[in-house]
């Protein structure tokens, strides 16, 4: 011991930070291997100040694991739910004596990543079950810690494997602890028992383990990149079996005989082979020692975590603040590994990076179909879905039959979307129906809004989830006028979608077949609408017009073909660029919608537009659109109002299961841990670290449309935001503003009339989730309706309480 102490002292110099007792302890821990001790001490004491300071909730450390051997499952579950373990545990000094319950070699991992933690714990559980109080545990743990301690170890290996690998290892750990006696099937069972001095080989094996984890991680990310998220999840569980076997072997082979050296040799080979295989699969590059070391990365991550503002997501921080992070930044960001130790394990996937990779293939747009009642919205969309192959021939025949039976043969296409008995019986869409289709460059989630004036609240709910819109107008004689005149929904819907932030619009001039494709009528409709839409605030270039027939299916998915019953249309509707061709069809226009910017890096917000029991006991599924931020399976989310937290168990993006989703996706989230009673339409699922504000009193800037009576102080109306409607009162009109200059025209006017812009204070009957418009567009918009008319739309400018 004394000799070891002297050697270590010599090696590290007479640093005052390291006391003799500490050195002794670590020596004891490393079974008097002075090299390992030195390495560990160097690393540890270099990091020490950082570690102490970095007591943020995001920091990942090691929980006390004394109870693992008894209640490992519970402890693991508990562990997952606890973002920040007691700092003492994370900071833990060596407790090297192997005694039941073993405090194990994990203690040396205080500055290490989650991988070490989870793995150490997993292994700890494993070996404690296998042979309580015996040495192997510490050895295995140490192998890992040594791996961490060695500066030369492939950095990507440690940290890339960190989070997923950590989870993986802990899973393996718990798995094996459940079957402690399972015979070793793995390659070259190793025997750690009785080993007094850990050889370099055991460290190498640890390195190997890390590498395996790394490879899996890379492979997983690569697969995710192609969008096959589900497949990746499977791979995650399927692939590591070799690793699992290795660990099993480590635990289970305590009684096995044979020379350890030999065993290690075999293992090394095995791992090398495995690694090679993984590399080939994933195309991951061999580590060239040209990127920052894991220590650097840990340092930088901890620095980032410490420096993170309390509300800020750590992952939004620049990935590389580390000293040596210059050139390899790109790779790092892609792998998103550097802040791994600083974030809780819930964020397994760096969704932002994944999302960035899929850009170009994954261009999803939410499209709302609006227009006056009976303009043919549902029929048009139903026909589109059919034409694009989303509705089978057989299903359509069935609908045709059913519709024919009650004498509504022409409604067959509409029934694709109008599914309830009431809707079918009355021939009116009542609630928003969803569907999806893809064009050459875009994927669309369509929201077919009801046109009837009584269902405008539903339409608002749909339109608030949309990026772009199709305005369907009835061009038949009298049809256009009834929708366009005062009180018609063509106007109201256009105003509403614009106020809800939709700037791109395609106007489908429908039912032109009823006026025998009269070009003059088309021009008239376009001219009248054009002037109005400009006054609504649409930009001229963002509004495009297309003549169609929803029922006849003309010019929807294919350009008008003179042979297919649209000769009249083809006669005058030509492509502007190439007059030899017929003009572009509806799908052509949809395909060229510009993609809106997604607020991916902002805190998560999903406004609940519907919820229902589902996805297993105690789970609730909510549907809505991710307004901003990202979400992934396993992530903790908060429901506001209420503030309860739950865990996302499953994500469906557009009815297809996924492991993550980003802003703009229409999702169904299955959430566990929150009672269904807590849910309500209008609630918002958010990031727990930055929940949305809930208020009953706020200030808004309103654009007043055409209310039948002026708005006064104390004016009561219904406030709509997202899918929610709640009675509200305009408590006070603060001032009227000049729309163009922003100048205050008049303070405290007695009333405001149509066409004015004003700042008002609004008080709602119950508390609602709202955010400043500047912070979250979707949740910062409000609409005031009264007596079935939309009287004003506005944005939240201040929240009063």
């Amino acid at each position: 011991m004394q000799a070891g102490l002297a050697a270590v002292r010599e090696a590290i110099g007479q640093t005052s930070a390291v006391t003799d007792s500490e050195i002794k302890e670590s020596l004891w821990y490393y079974y008097f291997d002075s090299d390992a001790t030195i390495a560990w001490l160097r690393k540890t004491y270099k990091l020490k100040p950082k570690v102490r300071g970095a007591d943020t909730p995001f920091r990942m450390g090691l929980p006390a694991i004394g109870n693992i051997d008894e209640h490992e499952e519970a402890a693991l579950a508990n562990y997952r739910h606890r973002p920040g373990p007691p700092p003492s545990a994370a900071r833990g000094t060596s407790q090297p004596r192997p005694q039941p319950p073993p405090a194990t070699g994990t203690s040396s991992l205080k500055s290490l990543s989650a991988l070490g933690g989870a793995a150490g714990r997993g292994l700890g559980g494993l070996s404690s079950r296998a042979q309580p109080g015996a040495a192997p545990l510490s050895v295995v743990g140490m192998a890992l810690s040594a791996l961490k301690a060695r500066p030369g170890v492939a950095p990507a290996a440690t940290s890339a494997g960190a989070r997923p690998g950590g989870g993986l290892l802990s899973q393996i750990g718990s798995l094996s602890s459940r079957q402690p006696a399972r015979p070793a099937r793995g390659p070259a069972p190793m025997n750690f028992a009785g080993r007094q001095v850990p050889s370099l080989k055991s460290m190498a094996s640890g390195t190997g383990a890390g590498r395996v984890a790394e490879s899996h991680q890379r492979q997983r990310q690569a697969e995710l990149g192609t969008g096959a998220a589900a497949a990746a999840t499977t791979t995650l569980y399927a692939q590591p079996s070799a690793l699992a076997q290795f660990i099993l072997g480590a635990g289970g082979a305590r009684s096995g005989a044979g020379s350890a050296t030999e065993a290690m040799g075999g293992l090394r080979q095995e791992i090398a082979g495995l690694l090679e295989a993984c590399r080939q699969k994933s195309g991951a590059k061999k580590f060239g020692f040209d990127t920052p070391s894991p220590d650097d990365r840990v340092l930088s991550a901890q620095g980032a975590a410490t420096g993170a503002a309390p509300g800020k997501k750590p992952k939004a921080q620049p990935a590389t603040k580390g000293p040596s992070a210059t050139e390899p930044t790109k790779e790092l960001e892609q792998l998103k590994i550097s802040d791994a130790p600083a974030t809780p394990p819930k964020r397994k996937i760096d969704v932002e990076a994944e999302y960035a990779k899929t850009q170009g293939e994954h261009d999803t747009l939410n499209l709302v179909v609006v227009g006056h009642v009976d303009a043919g919205k549902s029929t048009l969309m139903g026909h589109m879905l059919y034409a694009l192959g989303q509705v089978s021939e057989r299903a359509l025949r069935k609908l045709e039959q059913e519709a024919g039976r009650i004498g509504k043969g022409s409604f067959a296409y509409a029934w694709v979307l109008d599914a309830t008995d009431e809707e079918r019986a009355r021939g009116v869409t009542m609630d928003v129906a969803t569907g999806s289709f893809a064009t050459a460059h875009r994927r669309f989630t369509i929201l077919d809004a009801p046109g009837h004036r009584d269902f405008v609240p539903n339409m608002i709910s749909g339109a608030s989830r949309a990026d772009v819109a199709v305005l369907v107008v009835d061009a038949s004689t009298g049809g256009f006028e009834s929708g366009f005149d005062r009180g018609g929904q063509t106007r109201e819907h256009a105003l509403l979608v614009r106020s809800l932030g939709v700037s791109q619009l395609v106007v489908a001039v429908n039912k032109l077949d009823m006026v025998s494709w009269d070009a003059a009528r088309y021009e008239e409709v376009v001219a009248r609408l054009g002037a109005f839409l400009l006054s609504c605030g649409f930009h001229k270039d963002d509004v495009r017009y297309v003549p169609v027939s929803g029922l006849g299916g003309v010019n929807l998915a294919r350009r008008a073909d003179p042979g297919a019953g649209a000769a009249e249309l083809a006669a005058w509707y030509r492509d502007a660029a190439d007059p030899g061709q017929p003009g572009p069809c509806l799908v052509d226009f949809l395909d060229t919608f510009a993609l809106p910017e997604r607020a991916v890096s902002r805190p998560l917000r999903v406004a609940v537009s519907d919820f229902f029991k589902g996805g297993g006991a105690g789970s609730v599924s909510i549907s809505g659109r991710i307004g901003q931020g990202t979400v992934q399976v396993g992530e903790r989310v908060m429901l506001v109002p209420g503030g309860e937290c739950g865990v996302v168990k499953a994500i469906d993006v557009d009815y297809v299961s996924a492991s993550w989703a980003v802003a703009g996706d229409a999702v169904v989230l299955t959430i566990q841990g929150i009672d269904i009673q807590q849910f309500a339409v209008g609630a918002v699922v958010c990031a727990p670290e930055r929940p949305i504000s809930v208020t009953a009193r706020f200030e808004a800037k309103l654009a007043v449309f055409e209310p039948p009576v002026p708005i006064t102080n104390g004016f009561s109306a219904l406030l709509h935001t997202q899918s929610l409607s709640v009675p509200a009162v305009v408590r006070q009109i603060i001032e009227t503003i000049d729309q163009r200059t922003g100048e205050v025209l008049k303070r405290h006017p007695r009333h405001i009339r149509k066409g004015t812009t004003a700042r008002v204070e609004i008080v709602t009957e119950s508390r609602v989730c709202l955010e400043l418009f500047q912070d979250a567009r979707e949740l910062g918009r409000v609409m005031l309706r009264k007596g079935g008319e939309t009287i004003a739309a506005g944005i939240v400018t201040a929240i009063r309480d």
Partner: protein
Amino acid sequence: MKLLGRQIERDQSGSVRLVPEEPEDIWHAYNLILKGDQLTAVTTRGVKSESATGSVSTNRVRLKLTVSIEDVFFDSYACALRINGRVVAENPHVSIGQYHTLDLELNQPFTLAKPEWDVISLQRVSDACDIARQADAAAVTMHEGLAVICLMTQHMTVVRQRIEVAIPRKSRGSTTNYDKGLQRFYEQVYEAIKRHIDFSVVKVVILGSPGFVREQFFAYMMAQAAKAEDRAIIENKAKFLLVHTSSGHKGALEEVMRDPQIRVRLADTKSAVEARAIDGFYQMLNSNPDRAFYGYDDVAKAAENGAIGTLMVTDELFRAADVPTRKKYIRLVEDSKASNAEVLVFSSMHVSGEQLNQLSGVAAILNFPLLIESDDECE
């Protein structure tokens, strides 16, 4: 309310003896009884008595007490009134100055003495004792997932129950959840109607909703009633009126009052008159803003100029705790009456009254336009 006696002196002080007979009378009493008045009524109180040997026993004693009122609390749902104050009249059981809380009970006479009976209070007494019964109505406003069941009497609209059921939206491929949710919702509304609406009293039941909910629900209700042989519903089928509203929130009652069908049925009820008046105010504000004023300062100026055609005030203002405020509004009412204006004291328990409350509690339609330079315009 029954008036048993009235002794009011020339200086307007005096007392009135009344018997509340139905829940609405408690509301009237609430509007009459103000801080500082003296109330005499029968009540019970735990009285401690000490015997000669020193043992203490507590008995509940029914006794008549007079208290000087310090606090009044009204529970609109149960129509109960609790009055707290100090005992002022001598009594064998309670000494003067002790606190007591009275519960005003139905069919138990009480005597209210005021230092000054103003116009509003006297008007309230005569309103309360008006035996010409107006139609009591019930109203159910609903939209998918929300229903509000109200009882409307002459002076009050009381929400008896608010039903909120989460109905899953229609989803792709299946409407089962939606249908189930809707059934559950209708079932609850139906049960609530049976529980809260007494068809022997209620003359009309209004079902108001956007879309087709009311028709669908009405069909459901009649089918259920037929199945369960619920005579109360079947026999009163004619009392149901289906009206279009834009939403299911309580505020939609305002639209109900505008419906021509309802206007005929409830033509002379206070709520209909009030709804019409406030409508008129907004119409005037729209067409001729110089003839529609609100807020005390503006209206008072109009009153000074004798311009007021219709004055609308909520009763809440007269329940104001501080005397000067009350006096201020009473003067406004008296001035307006003197200039032959129509004065409507809105019940703050009606939807229109709530609206007027929001609108500062006082508004006026003027006979001729007036230009006023309100202070804020000078800013």
